[in-house]
Subunit: 449 residues, 2 copies
């Protein structure tokens, strides 16, 4: 395979040898062009993109990071964009146009081929996170009565438009989906067999409004590479291919990891700093207020701390271990929900398990801490107070780390939003209150150690 | 599609109407049988599994959760297991056998068909997280000189063994991979064309030792559904299908989320509590020692706290915000590394960005905290001390949250291991030390407020 090194490209660009670069870069695989653009400094993006032929440009554009694509679209000439979009599959064209300003997109839709334009307008009506938002309308669909050679002829005539077909969909006269036909089976079929005889009847399909996470579950569960999309009455509308589902799975995994720490999905490695700041500030502000709440709980025990300042030295231990233990539970549970392992029926078993683990870990870690505190400070009561409060707090951690995401799921709020900020606030409060509370009661007669 | 409800199944089992249940359950899609087993209480697992015919059992077994499969394998009769394994594809058989005790697996390998047994032994030599560990050896491979109809005949004769073929691989006389042939293209080819003319020459392939994460990147980057696997000399060995890659992507995403909070991958929602405790304890113990380290830093300022106990009330705010801000940066960077967005060339840009975001967020959140502290305590110097220490700590958070995973990646340690425990320890120390340190210097003449 031809490959251009990074420094070769930079040399071409610096020496303005664009004709040569144009020839060479267009021979690369579009995925490699995408990687090259992402690795080059921003100032070269438009120049490189302008060298691509329409076919390559149409493959590259949908795969670029959002912020890179936006920058390129800002500088592109309209006729060039129309040519590129004409080369795209409808789902990708709809994604690009859907991200544009309303006026620009209306303008564009008037100028591209009418048939495509109608399809794209239709696709834009679906929620972008639904099966409709993922599907493409370029499909091979045959009637159940068609004979083997008729089907082959039909495919020959229509394959030009469709990449990675692998399957034809079989419908009745009413355009309702009745089966799916793996094209390899055509090679094995006898000439007198019709679609109905060759096809697989048990079709897994998705209704057009199904959420993309559920669509990904279908692919995962049934090991699919292609999924037909239908309307409520089972009329065939389009298909979703597995490569788009891999993007969905990546996106959903990022989203879960992100939500746990209060990040928005668009806040990526190279998002510009100001927009990252804007996206993170609301959550950090919320965090400031949860921290003030925690601080006010500590404030309740200021008199105790005033007398026994070493409590302030030890208290971060109780809160820290509880926080980490709670985050572990939270991660296990939200990941279980995301992968569909947790269902309504087995939830109680999961919560019971996490609480048990919290208590046992608390007993072990609490005992170690108890011994250490006794050895360091020579006071057995202090050791018991520290150990006991750690056991309490790790029990609390197991309980809230598992119930909060489950409750949120039941209320149809995304469980990943039970983010570390809430869990940490509660384990901080649990840790400080139990430790300082027990100390206030049991260490009241102790003089400064 | 036929579906059995949960309560129907439970009724069958309780009334011992196993013959009826056997008929009904074997008509389900294997993926639905998997779901039913996972939702039923543990005591029914063996009974349900024993009702499956060999074909269904061979499809169900590889898809079960590890702990469910282990339990079933403990109770299965050897002849039954042999029958099931004979129905499996080689990659799945190797996964099952590879997880068994050495003696049991040797025993089993002697009893299954010799051809399969040899292949499986070969597959077991590859690292299970490499391309070799993922590949299956059931492929359609044709010579470049074969004509269209010869190829079709060959596929007809050999398709029985292979599911989801979609592609044939083209080799030269020396078994070296020279091209890939989308079977749909055969429908369009003329009779006198040979494989060399129909095939695609630019094949993306993986060397057998390639790590599974890199294999997943190839699927992601080139939108593949099937990837041929070759040895160092480009001899064709097998193929990997996209459904296995979806499992890899799920597994890697779980692994990253898990490592960030010190969890092991096998610690799932329904792992038994004792084994979860064992898996989590080492990390929590490490965490206890990092907490003691943090505590000893606070201990350096015990005299200051002794005099000004309200510092103990405010100090969790500085540490908490720093910790959360650091975890945000850590998540953005590790996710960027996982998805291949961060490369050596653009790393500095990413670190610079995160530090900038940390400073700006610190300035804003620190100023708000400054005002709040002034309003609450009426002391301007205290406000300035709190605000300044928050700015310092959020700068530290941006710096370590981005550099630590990058350094770990450079040292070829998994960056997700730069887990919250390390980041939180450093931001805790940064927060407590800067706040209490500044307070010791600037509030030394202040009497108790």
């Amino acid at each position: 395979m031809i490959m251009l090194t990074y420094s070769e490209i930079q040399k071409y660009l610096e020496e303005n040898r664009e004709t040569e670069l144009k020839t060479n870069i267009n021979e690369l695989h579009p995925a490699d062009i995408v990687q090259i653009i992402h690795e080059l400094p921003v100032e070269y993006h438009n120049r490189i993109f302008s060298l691509l032929n329409d076919q390559n440009a149409s493959d590259v554009l949908p795969e670029l990071f959002d912020e890179v694509r936006e920058e390129i679209l800002k500088n592109i000439q309209q006729q060039r964009l129309i040519n590129i979009i004409d080369e795209m599959e409808t789902d990708e064209a709809a994604d690009i146009i859907g991200d544009m300003e309303e006026e620009a997109s209306r303008n564009l839709l008037e100028k591209i081929e009418e048939e495509d334009s109608e399809t794209i307008k239709q696709l834009l009506l679906y929620d972008e996170d639904s099966a409709g938002g993922l599907m493409q309308t370029e499909i091979i669909s045959v009637l159940q009565t068609m004979k083997r050679d008729e089907i082959i002829e039909y495919i020959r005539a229509n394959i030009g438009e469709v990449e990675n077909i692998h399957y034809a969909f079989v419908t009745d006269d009413d355009k309702k989906l009745v089966g799916i036909l793996e094209l390899t089976r055509l090679l094995l079929a006898r000439p007198d067999w019709n679609a109905e005889k060759i096809m697989e009847r048990e079709v897994i399909s998705a209704v057009v409004t199904l959420d993309q996470e559920q669509v990904a579950h279908l692919f995962r569960k049934y090991n699919l590479i292609i999924l037909p999309v239908v309307d409520e009455e089972n009329h065939l509308l389009g298909r979703i291919t597995v490569d788009d589902i891999i993007d969905v799975i990546d996106e959903e995994a990022s989203e879960d990891a992100y939500k746990m720490v209060g990040l928005e999905n668009e806040d990526r490695v190279f998002t510009n700093p100001i927009s990252s700041v804007k996206k993170r500030l609301p959550w950090l502000t919320l965090n400031l207020f949860t921290a003030l709440l925690v601080s006010s709980v500590v404030g309740l025990f200021e008199q105790t701390i005033d007398r026994l300042s070493f409590l302030a030295v030890l208290m971060p231990i109780v809160a820290g271990l509880g926080g980490n233990s709670g985050t572990q539970t939270l991660t296990v549970i939200t990941r279980g929900i995301a992968l569909g392992e947790l269902t309504i029926r087995n939830t109680w078993r999961a919560i019971f398990k996490e609480v048990t683990v919290g208590i046992i870990n608390g007993l072990i870690i609490g005992s170690i801490a108890m011994v250490i505190a006794y050895l360091l400070k020579g006071n057995i009561i202090l050791g018991v107070v520290l150990g006991t409060s750690m056991i309490c707090n790790m029990f609390i951690a197991g309980l809230i780390g598992s119930t909060i995401p489950v409750i949120m799921k039941t209320l149809k709020i995304d469980p990943a939003l039970a983010s570390s900020v809430i869990i940490t606030m509660l384990t901080d409060i649990g840790g400080f209150a139990s430790f300082l509370g027990l100390a206030t009661v049991f260490l009241k007669d102790v003089a400064v150690l």
